[in-house]
Symmetry: C2
């Protein structure tokens, strides 16, 4: 394997390490050190289990290990599915000092993390994300949760993992469409606070799509570093952490209204990034040139950003007003003063928002 | 009203006040100060709502307020009932800066608190406990949760309230059986670490049962102070907080095996306190004289402590091994070196435990 790039998320007694490497899951000895516990529950799904569950077994070397295999897909990210995890943990008599491993994409990580947060009021879990989206976003930072028919991630908890293991070799088993969707979140980090990284992405888009190991490791590591820095500043999303939702308020409205099926999360985020950029330009905050660079990079990465005909501007506005970032009745938005200069605001003209929704959806 | 006795639970950014008084719920102006929010959801049950929900409305003075009325009883303390709270919060579009009020006994408080912990990953809640059990125990310290068919409080979260309002006048509407059950938890605090308080209880048992206001206020305040002190030392139950479970490992086994119906929680705790005392005496840790004082006070308070015929010693042992205090496969117990000198241990002879279960259950 290529030696992993490691970093620490310095959250005091909740501090943990993130390891980004190629081939980490095949190194049973290395992995064993992170999976020490009397009992381990591997929460995974029907697609990922046949690919990587055996790697966890190998690292456990005969220690008591149970696979909890969930159905695949965002539509199963519900309290009912979480209940199945609780049932299995109780049947196997898991105690507070046992361990959950989340092996899969964001849905698995969010649900396994939520189950870990709530089982006996909190047990440890290790994130082993196998999609790019989960590797650069949901596996880091301790946000866990499930969806509700009336809104995404409406039920959840903040619960930091004990460690995050990112093996970029797992991306070789990922459908290209999901890889592209994950790259939308990668672009997001450049847009939030790192113009140099954005420019690096413009130069390296092809290498990323070609799954070049060093290029992927660098990109994933850079995203995790930015995310960790923001999470440490604002663990419970009272302020700066909302920056990570750049593109998500628009994106959630698309997913929410179209039923989480036609759009992958990252695809909806790509469309949302474009709308946030477009609104920033419309509000006179950002140059047209930056808007064009953003649209061009998203296109270069093969991302669909046109949501026209998918939902009405009115439906989008209604869905946005149920967003968790609503404060005192007003939707807060993340806009940009330029590439790498995102900020949170509720000081915007309703007409600019309406015109943006109109331009992109009507 | 009698001026409340107030104290602060110093948990840093999660610090909050506990107010113990007589007539607090009738003082709308005073109460209003603690219930400031754009929207308030009053989680309560069918028994308590007709008695006190109007007091909350009065304090809200026309501010948006929704009652979420749950069915009464421990058998409804489930994830399914918690889901109803989530549904209502979403229907009424509650945001992260809105407020939940838990108005009722321990079941209401645990469920409302759990819903507050998980709704949008955490919103504020105020505890207004209306049973003695909830006033001296569950409303303070941030433990929230629901039961699972395979174990009590197996799904939950640590989530501290924003404030706790204890109006001992609510005890006048409480059935005597529940008052007595609550007194078992009061006795527990004396046994854990306050021999003087235990002696005070021996002298004031009659006044407590007669609902004398000053006596009740003193007792409730003393219990909350002791609990707050222990919670501050160990918020997430890594060590000392387990002391609060004195009598509970035995008690949970009784409740769990008899289906949470025949025994009130406090009654099971009373039986558990007696068993913990009996085991401590059997192990040569505590004098016979202390054991007799404990049995005598529980009897004076009218508490049933005999669980003979309710469950077999083997069933009790099996239920205990599923307790959350299990560490590395061994049940930790809270035993006593005397009244006011409880300690957590897994260093005990299995035969002493077996003999205790045998003596009290066979």
């Amino acid at each position: 394997m290529i030696a992993p790039l490691s970093m620490t998320v310095p959250l005091g007694e909740r501090a943990y390490s993130i390891h980004v490497g190629a081939g980490l899951l095949r190194d049973a000895t290395w992995l064993a050190g992170l999976l020490r516990a009397r009992k381990v529950a591997v929460v995974t799904n029907a697609v990922v289990a046949p690919l990587y569950a055996a790697n966890i077994r190998a690292a456990r070397a005969g220690g008591e290990t149970h696979d909890i295999v969930l159905p695949d897909g965002e539509s199963h990210k519900t309290l009912a599915t979480a209940t199945k995890i609780f049932d299995a943990l109780l049947e196997h008599r898991f105690a507070r000092d046992d361990l959950i491993v989340a092996l899969g994409g964001g849905v698995v990580g969010d649900m396994a993390g939520f189950a870990a947060a709530c089982y006996q009021r909190g047990i440890a879990f290790v994130q082993i994300p196998t999609t790019l989206l989960a590797q650069v976003d949901s596996s880091v930072g301790g946000k866990t949760g499930v969806n509700h028919p009336l809104g995404k991630n409406m039920i959840g908890a903040f619960h930091q993992p004990r460690a995050v293991v990112i093996d970029i070799d797992t991306l070789r088993s990922l459908p290209l469409r999901e890889l592209r969707a994950g790259l939308a979140e990668v672009v997001k980090y450049g847009l939030i606070c790192d113009a140099d990284f954005f420019a690096w992405l413009e130069r390296n888009a092809e290498r990323l799509l070609a799954l070049d190991s060093e290029t992927l490791m660098y990109a994933v590591h850079r995203c995790c570093s930015i995310k960790a820095e923001i999470v440490v500043r604002d663990e419970h999303e009272q302020g700066d952490r909302a920056l990570l939702n750049l593109g998500h308020t628009f994106g959630h409205a698309i997913e929410n209204t179209t039923g989480y099926s036609r759009w992958l999360h990252g695809e909806a985020v790509a469309a949302g990034l474009r709308m946030a950029a477009s609104m920033s330009e419309r509000a006179g905050l950002m140059d047209k040139a930056d808007l064009l660079r953003i649209e061009s990079l998203l296109q270069q990465l093969g991302l669909r950003t046109d949501a026209r005909g998918e939902l009405s501007p009115a439906a989008a506005h209604a869905a946005m007003s149920l967003d968790k970032k609503v404060k005192a009745g007003r939707v807060r938005l993340i806009l940009m003063r330029g590439i790498g200069r995102a900020f949170v605001t509720d000081d915007y003209a309703e007409e600019t928002l309406a015109a943006t929704l109109e331009a992109h959806l009507a």
